[in-house]
């Protein structure tokens, strides 16, 4: 018997609330659960403090009104709905807009140091799709500030527990470099815990907990050109599906308009939207500011028609319309894609993003320090002297686990989800800056939801089914077994990334999406023959082989939903159905697994927008999104 197939001694841990994921949402959920007195565990796929949240650059959207006192939650709500093309879960968008300021202020009590206004308040910056300067930020490393602040808050809670009990980990413990492979349920179908392995030694652990919060982030690693890190393999979405929860709107994937395109090894790495918010402009190979040609009708009234007006806006936003470079991300990404396709791209297949001719060098370095650093060190480009080359990169999935807006509960009792892994909040397209605030608002709500759920259980804690554990461990260890025609997990991953990028990427066509589904069938077959070399001791090949299962499942969901939705909206562009269709606005695509593990897709109505929320919009604006029938019903209500 080799080391890799030895039966395992299972380590067991007990918690009231188990949070899977240690990014912004996970940590905020864990802090909430612990502050409300529950014993909380956090599982972290990489080291503590390395979660993908650190990559967020621009800021946290919250209508604190520090830069413009006219800003308030209603304006933020409107912007969010517009950005999401009205497909957002309106209750989530409402809660998010209302609670974001408190969540940001709270961070200051944890020790966060945002950039300041002259009055000493939190400074707020402009961003695409936001009517007023709204993003609390720290230079262009806001995500790092967020993750570090939450990390340090976790430590401070542990210090409290140490003072009381002599042990840091009595009530809040973080398990770094640990990956969950399966959620565990009791016989009644309630969540009972999770099975995980530690990446270092490959040992399996059973975490017993009546409530589990999924905060695992997105699925970007299924695409070739992506701004996401290796952790983003769709684990949470796949875990939720396999445990019986539903995913919604998985077709909506945000391609951030500006990722690096060169050198090849960093292709996809993000260039923050702040570059444009602070004055950067997009030009094609002919030197033209092409975004003026791509302002869609729904946004025509808010965006400048001429370069002169756009330039005046940076100084005087009250009396001028915004530059079209600050359109929502989906619009800009499609425009860049089109420029490149029509032969007006830059040498390495992107377009030019120029800030060097717009701001003095020291100002660029002060406002965009990490961009300056990133281009200097990775591409040998000095952004204070020359333009950057940028192109779209897979950045964020708007779709995700279907949750209750108020409690973040999924349809599986005891299972909660928050952050990127949850769906609905952002509709078909997310505004920049709304992600970090989403993490905080719904991270906290998931924590509270879990606490309430556990309180409601009383003494009837669900019990883990040992058979499930055994089967799950066997599957993982089975990857080391010899097989005929063995497959290498790295090859499979590369093939998946290439195909998803080409066939279900930024622009989609029916035939290609169908081809993708065929390819996924083949990859599923090949994945059954994956053989891992070496042993369980920190073996990246083995880790990838386990992640692949999740990626393949989630990619299938994306492709099926992309095929079903025959319109173009936000992060889903169908070349064969280029228009936005008000009938489709009423439809969420919901995916679940059937008894044989096959993905089932059904249509489900989008929750109605409450009357008082609808009243925040002009009728003329609603007319762009809602059906005639909906508009009449609204008019009827008014009369």
């Amino acid at each position: 018997m080799t080391e890799s197939t030895e039966p395992t001694e299972l380590e067991t841990h007990d918690f009231d609330v188990l949070v899977i994921g240690a990014g912004g949402a996970g940590l905020r959920a864990a802090i909430e659960a612990r502050e409300q007195g529950l014993k909380t565990g956090v599982i972290c796929k990489s080291l503590f403090g390395k979660a993908h949240t650190v990559m967020a650059e621009g800021g946290i959207a919250a209508s604190m009104g520090n830069a413009n006192p006219k800003d308030n939650w209603e304006v933020h709500f409107r912007d969010t709905m517009r950005g999401g093309k009205f497909l957002n879960n309106p209750r989530m968008a409402e809660l998010h807009a209302k609670e974001a300021p408190q969540r940001v202020w709270e961070l200051e009590t944890y020790g966060a140091l945002f950039d300041r206004t002259d009055e000493g308040k939190i400074s707020q910056r402009n961003f695409g799709g936001h009517e007023y300067p709204r993003l609390a930020h720290v230079g262009d490393r806001t995500g790092l500030e967020l993750i570090r602040t939450l990390q340090q808050k976790v430590v401070s809670l542990q210090q409290e527990d140490k003072r009381e009990t002599g042990d840091y980990f009595t009530k809040l413990e973080v398990f770094a470099e640990t990956t969950v492979t399966d959620l565990l349920k009791d016989d009644a179908g309630r969540i009972a815990g999770a099975l995980a392995y530690d990446r270092e030694y490959g040992k399996f652990r059973v975490y017993r907990a009546p409530a589990v919060v999924l905060a695992t982030g997105g699925i970007g690693k299924a695409f070739k050109v992506t701004s996401n890190s290796w952790e983003y393999t769709g684990d949470g979405a796949a875990l939720a599906l396999r445990s019986g929860a539903a995913l919604i709107n998985m077709e909506f994937i945000q391609f951030h308009p500006t990722g690096m395109v060169w050198p090849p090894s960093v292709k996809g790495i993000l260039v923050t939207e702040s570059v444009r918010g602070d004055g950067g402009v997009l030009r094609n190979s002919e030197g033209k500011r092409f975004m003026f040609d791509y302002v869609p009708d729904v946004f025509r009234s808010q965006y400048a028609d001429t370069e002169e007006e756009a330039d005046r806006w940076y100084k005087d936003p009250e009396n001028n319309k915004r530059p079209p470079e600050l359109l929502p991300r989906d619009e800009v990404a499609r425009a860049i894609n089109n420029e490149v396709k029509e032969g007006r791209g830059s040498p390495h297949g992107g377009v030019f993003l120029d800030v060097s001719s717009r701001l003095p060098a020291d100002e660029i370095i002060r406002r965009l320090p990490s961009m300056h650093h990133q281009f200097k060190e990775l591409a040998d480009v000095d952004i204070t002297a020359e333009p950057m080359e940028v192109g779209p990169t897979c950045h964020y999935v708007m779709g995700g686990i279907e949750v209750d807006p108020d409690t973040a509960a999924t349809s599986v009792p005891g299972l909660f989800a928050a952050g990127e892994v949850a769906g609905g909040m952002h509709g078909s397209n997310r505004l920049g800056g709304n992600s970090l605030s989403d993490l905080l608002v719904f991270g906290r709500r998931a924590g509270t939801g879990a606490v309430e759920y556990v309180a409601g259980l009383g003494n009837s804690r669900p019990a883990v089914n040992d058979g499930d554990v055994q089967r799950a461990v066997e599957w993982s260890l089975g990857l080391f077994e010899e097989r005929e025609h063995p497959e290498n997990p790295y090859d499979l991953h590369h093939a998946l990334q290439d195909q998803m990028n080409d066939l279900v990427g930024i622009i989609r066509r029916e035939a290609e999406v169908r081809e993708a589904l065929t390819v996924l069938d083949e990859l599923d077959e090949r994945a059954k023959r994956v053989v891992v070399q070496g042993n369980r001791h920190f073996n990246p090949g083995w880790h990838l082989a386990m992640d692949l299962r999740n990626m393949l499942l989630v990619c299938r969901c994306v492709a099926l939903a992309a095929l079903e939705r025959t319109e173009s909206r936000g992060g889903h562009t169908r070349e064969d159905h280029p228009a936005m269709d008000p009938q489709w606005r009423k439809v969420n695509l919901v995916e679940t697994l059937d008894g044989d593990g096959r993905v089932e897709l059904k249509r489900q109505p989008v929750p109605e927008i409450r009357q008082d929320l609808l009243d925040l919009f002009e009728r003329s604006e609603l007319a762009k999104y809602l059906t005639e029938e909906e508009l009449q019903r609204r008019a009827g209500d008014e009369s």
Partner: protein, 250 residues
């Protein structure tokens, strides 16, 4: 343009190990991490390496390249000649787990020992007022991505295992400075900096600053000011006298 590059990569675990030679393809514009990934995909599927963002923002892929502590993702291949043999080893200050992965729990332990931010009493969330002037110094230190290269290179612990117990290392001494300079932090951190966290062990030889991928001036802006603040408190009767007089006159 691509060529076959020569690499020596340390393979092993906490029991044994050594440098293993590889020949591997190198393409234009790549960084050392790309090469390690190519090794994984083609020659050594179980080669252990830690990485996340691949953009120098998360601080996961710390290792030593040709003997120098570096981030694998921020070391461009173009900084080497084509016939150069590039040696990649794990960090040499922490226990090795496997190949390029080390056990960095020392840092997390130290991090837990630094008392957290002490919020000012009676200031509600939303009422925090701080001037940009006052937060700028601490903001520099908060750029830290916790790659722990400074902890790795610091000879106090690198060359003296027994010092690990009474020395927090540059990263966490900098954290103390960050909090001590925080305009609203309510705690005095100088006593603990001197006793528990060992600022006195630092002999300001600046290797931490040299290796910092975020170019934080750890020594000049954090460690020396902390030493000076400790001196204010413990070694400067003039400042002490001044404080005494001012307190009496107010």
């Amino acid at each position: 343009m691509s060529y076959q590059g020569s690499f020596r990569v340390w393979r092993g675990d906490d029991q044994s190990g050594g440098l293993v030679d590889y020949r591997v393809e190198v393409n234009e514009g790549e960084v050392v991490l790309d090469i390690i990934h190519r090794l994984q995909a083609t020659q050594a599927p179980d080669l252990a390496v830690r990485w996340n963002c691949k953009a120098g923002k998360c601080g996961s892929c710390s290792a030593e390249i040709n003997g120098k502590p570096r981030l694998l993702c921020m070391t461009r291949m173009s900084t080497f000649t084509e016939d150069e043999t590039i040696t990649v080893t794990p960090l040499r200050t922490f226990p090795v787990e496997k190949d390029l992965v080390t056990d960095v729990s020392f840092n997390y332990e130290k991090s837990r020992e630094i008392p957290a931010f002490a919020p000012p009493e009676g200031v509600a969330p939303g009422d925090y007022r701080m001037s940009q002037w006052d937060v700028e110094r601490s903001q520099e230190f908060r750029k830290c991505i916790e790659c722990f290269l400074c902890q790795d290179v610091c000879h106090v612990v690198r060359d003296h295992e027994d010092n690990k117990q009474h020395f927090a290392g540059p990263r966490f001494l900098m954290r103390i400075t960050e909090l001590d300079m925080h305009p609203l932090d309510a705690a005095d951190r100088r006593e603990a900096a001197r006793t528990e966290h060992g600022i006195g062990w630092c002999n300001i030889t600046k290797c931490c600053t040299e290796v910092c991928p975020e170019h934080i001036k750890i020594t000049d802006n954090a460690l020396i000011p902390l030493k000076e603040r400790v001196a204010d408190r413990y070694y400067d009767p003039i400042v002490w006298l001044g404080n005494k007089i001012r307190r009496r006159s107010t």
